[in-house]
């Protein structure tokens, strides 16, 4: 572009590079540090010696974690929840988005459904009534409480709907002349045409369900039923909060026996690995495609 190599502009460019690199390191360090801690021996961790690389490299934490039945049980619950939610969310979203992408002339009643959806998006019963209702249904301690309370991702449904509106009418008309019913039109034409937006909402569903700990916290009163993130919160954070709130040494010691820092770090690393595996996809669809998110009605 503009080649202006005065001293001032050179200094500015160097400073820019330094700031950007520092910003990168600032984001990287806390995450990398956890990885280093998880591979370090516990004395090094207690002595706060671990920064960028493991001290006294060991796999002890991971071996211990491997034997931690509750961790893997919670891991399994989270996987089950993500899979069930993904399947249910996708089916409901495309099924709702298609009729809603019609005009009121094409589908009498479309505006009423759309209104109901928007009301539900803008207004909800809040934590307590929702909890009591789930309890009434007898879903407490069941993975279905986590799945079904999020069965209809409204915002994402509207996003898919907006994408469907942009699909050329001629494609659909041709199929209808050939005798296809609306379900066939949806499956054979709309879904294959909408891969980017469907990938986006699928990833939202996966990441949201994997990361959520709040629902586990309220709908799973029994420790053994906690999904992974709620489990990590329960084990790791409770202890930390106890420490910050000034609990006595004995209380802390008894609580600390449950889990060491190195072991906790291994738990965090394993809990994040699934997200790292799909991170290239997240970058492709949720970052590059972020503009799809600008919903219009």
């Amino acid at each position: 572009m503009i080649e202006n190599k005065s001293l001032a502009s050179r200094i500015r460019i160097v400073l820019t590079y330094i700031i950007i690199i520092l910003a990168g390191l600032l984001c990287l360090f806390p995450l990398w540090n956890v990885v280093a801690i998880s591979f370090s021996s516990s004395w090094a961790v207690v002595a706060d010696k671990v920064t960028w690389y493991p001290i006294d490299f060991t796999l002890v934490s991971y071996k211990e974690l491997f034997k931690d039945n509750q961790f893997w049980r919670s891991f399994g619950i989270s996987v089950t929840r993500v899979v069930l939610s993904l399947v249910i969310n996708m089916i409901i979203m495309v099924l709702m988005a298609y009729p809603l992408s019609k005009t009121e002339d094409e589908f009498r009643g479309r505006n009423i459904y759309m209104g109901l959806l928007i009301i539900a998006m803008l207004f909800n019963g809040g934590t307590i009534p929702t909890y009591l209702v789930v309890k009434q249904y007898g879903l407490l301690n069941s993975v279905w409480a986590l799945v079904l309370t999020g069965a209809v991702p409204i915002f994402n449904t509207i996003m898919v709907k907006n994408f469907f509106v942009g699909i050329p009418k001629s494609l659909e008309e041709a199929a209808i002349i050939d005798g296809a019913n609306p379900l066939q039109v949806l499956v054979r034409i709309f879904i294959p045409c909408s891969k980017p937006v469907l990938a986006t909402v699928a990833l939202f569903s996966i990441v949201g369900n994997w990361n959520d700990y709040f629902k586990g916290l309220i709908y799973m009163p029994k420790l053994k039923n906690l999904p992974l993130m709620s489990y990590i919160r329960d084990i790791v954070i409770n202890l930390q909060q106890l420490a910050e709130s000034g609990a006595s040494a004995e209380e802390l010691a008894s609580a600390a026996q449950i889990s060491s820092d190195a072991l906790n770090s291994a738990k965090i690393v394993v809990a994040v690995v699934p997200l790292l595996i799909i991170y290239p996809l997240l970058q492709k669809y949720l970052i590059t495609g972020i503009t799809i998110g600008s919903v219009k009605e």
């Binding site: 909800n124 809040g126 934590t127 307590i128 909890y131 609306p182 379900l183 990361n211 959520d212 954070i237």
Partner: protein
């Protein structure tokens, strides 16, 4: 000829009717779940006007009118809760915006493509991680015997109780939130900068405008619409200061500055089983949020000619 036209009409009518039935059926599963898990709980809001007792249920609990709301007003808590919520959420919105805009402007200057891509990959990552795993990391770094305090001590400075003192807690919440979100927030601003006509920059440069002046007079004005839009989107959530984060970071020592509406609803309403009181707080929060959102949307339609949602 005429007959076929008639037949065609009949067929069109028939297909119109079948497709109507299909459309309703397609919406059915979603609507059932919305009724079960969305509209029925909305009905449960009436407990904000009751002295709700679970064993009596919604239909036999005593009606108390606005007593729960009066109780809120009398309690000093509500002022504190509102103040904490607003300070934390407005702080988050503004600081993330400023940092993200600056970051996007600087990142756009980087010509070394691999460095740029690498930094982007790293700074976007924390957005996708849950506070359940980030909070322990925050404790590791900012706790009383965390790494930051070790560094401070090594420099001969006193330890800072980032998470356990009412002086620093709100700053810690805002700071760690900015750390998590500035990268992801910068994406839209970066896109806005990329959209600026390079000719404008060149013209300004030929006129002798320094880099700073070009940023101020060319880049920032080009970003203004998206900045306003982002602010508008956030206004509707102003009473949500981030349950996920605060609940994982706070402790009883910092309730005075750290307790927000959402954590109060959970702790006092749900865990403390004061269902009616908690629902009343939630209701106030939703109504205010809704009113704010609708008015911002109206304003945005009028001024920016663009609907926020």
């Amino acid at each position: 000829m005429k007959k076929t036209k008639y037949e065609k009409q009949v067929r069109a009518k028939k297909s119109y009717k079948t497709s109507q039935r299909y459309y309703h059926l397609m919406l059915l599963p979603g609507m059932i779940f919305l009724v079960l898990f969305h509209y029925i709980p909305i009905g449960g809001i009436v407990m904000a006007f009751q002295n709700f007792v679970p064993s009596k249920g919604l239909f036999r609990s005593d009606w108390v009118g606005l007593k729960n709301f009066e109780r809120l007003l009398i309690k000093k808590d509500i002022q504190e809760l509102l103040r904490n919520t607003l300070v934390i959420s407005i702080g988050k919105i503004l600081v993330v915006m400023v940092v993200a805009v600056l970051f996007a402007i600087l990142l756009n200057e980087i010509r070394h493509m691999r460095l740029k891509k690498g930094v982007q990959t790293i700074v976007y990552l924390p957005h996708f991680l849950s506070w359940a795993v980030l909070a322990p990391i925050v404790y590791n770094l900012l706790g009383m015997d965390g790494m930051v305090n070790d560094v401070l001590n090594a420099l001969g400075l006193e330890s800072v109780n980032f998470l356990g003192s009412n002086k620093t807690f709100q700053g810690t919440v805002i700071g760690t939130y900015v750390w998590k979100e500035f990268g992801y927030a910068s994406i839209v601003y970066l896109a806005a900068i990329t959209g600026v006509d390079p000719g404008l920059h060149e013209a300004a440069a030929i006129d002798g405008a320094s880099w700073w002046r070009r940023v101020w007079h060319v880049t920032l004005p080009a970003m203004l619409p998206i900045i306003v839009l982002m602010l508008a989107i956030n206004v509707g959530n102003i009473l949500s200061a981030g349950f996920d984060q605060v609940y994982n970071l706070y402790n009883i020592r910092v309730y005075e500055t750290g307790d927000i509406l959402d954590t109060y609803v959970f702790r006092v309403g749900l865990e403390g089983r004061q269902y009616s009181l908690g629902t009343a707080v939630d209701l106030v929060k939703s109504v205010v949020g809704l009113v704010l959102m609708l008015s911002v949307n109206g304003l945005s339609k009028k001024i920016l000619h663009r609907s926020v949602f």
